[in-house]
Symmetry: C2
């Protein structure tokens, strides 16, 4: 499964991230997958050393999900292959990275397009998800569970 | 937004459905969108009369999500357009349909491929999601909220 995980994480354009909102209801949304080296080539060497199950996201600090995970850090990350219909859900926890050096390492000026105030403008956050347990949907209506 | 909702629901092949599992953690997974008439042409007239926000799914009765929603009926359904990057999250509740006539109306024998025991074999369920409040992700990093 770790090989399949690596392949899906390397190739996906977007990932689903599920959280629990402030009213206790589940939410999910697509987020850009910065693990994909076509999306964030400057992070390729960083992600080459990242343990399986550790997945990073960038987002607006003002986004609802940042407030949600501060209250409840349980999260699910779902990777989907729309060619094979395979899906992989990882369950774990998510946190906002406060380490300024790590935030500095993630930033690239091209992202000013999305974060006009820049890296230190107060609206750029890096999130770290740590998952281990998975459910793998095989694409032909079977589900396999396990740990990465 | 109702026009956009109708367009996305009619054209999506799969929908994400987020639930809270028995451990209180959020899960999401892709499910076939039977509202798409290419997937379930026999249901086209039924869905022509369905109120906005009411979305149906078919699944295995033995699937984890059926046990999850029996314990916690809060759910989110997320539609995503991977051409425009637009996303639409509906928040609401989900229930298993117990009405045998409605289950009969949903069934088509072609689905024996997915449910070998058939409509009344004990492993075919119809789920009804009812959502009203939405978050619309515009595809250019804006979020609009409202009700259908």
């Amino acid at each position: 499964m770790n090989k399949k995980y690596k392949e899906m994480l390397a190739s996906s354009f977007a990932l689903q991230i599920a959280t629990i909102n402030l009213q206790g209801a589940p939410e999910t949304r697509a987020m850009i997958n910065i693990q994909n080296k076509q999306i964030a080539p400057h992070l390729e060497s960083f992600f080459a050393k990242t343990p399986d199950g550790e997945i990073y996201f960038i987002t607006n600090t003002s986004s609802a999900k940042v407030a949600q995970i501060a209250k409840n850090n349980k999260a699910g990350v779902y990777l989907y292959d729309n060619q094979t219909y395979e899906g992989l859900l990882l369950s774990g926890v998510i946190e906002e990275i406060k380490d300024q050096k790590l935030k500095d390492a993630f930033w690239v000026d091209a992202w000013k397009m999305y974060y006009p105030a820049g890296k230190d403008g107060g609206d750029f956050s890096v999130l770290k998800f740590t998952g281990k347990d998975y459910k793998f949907y095989t694409g032909d209506f079977k589900v396999k569970t396990g740990s990465l």
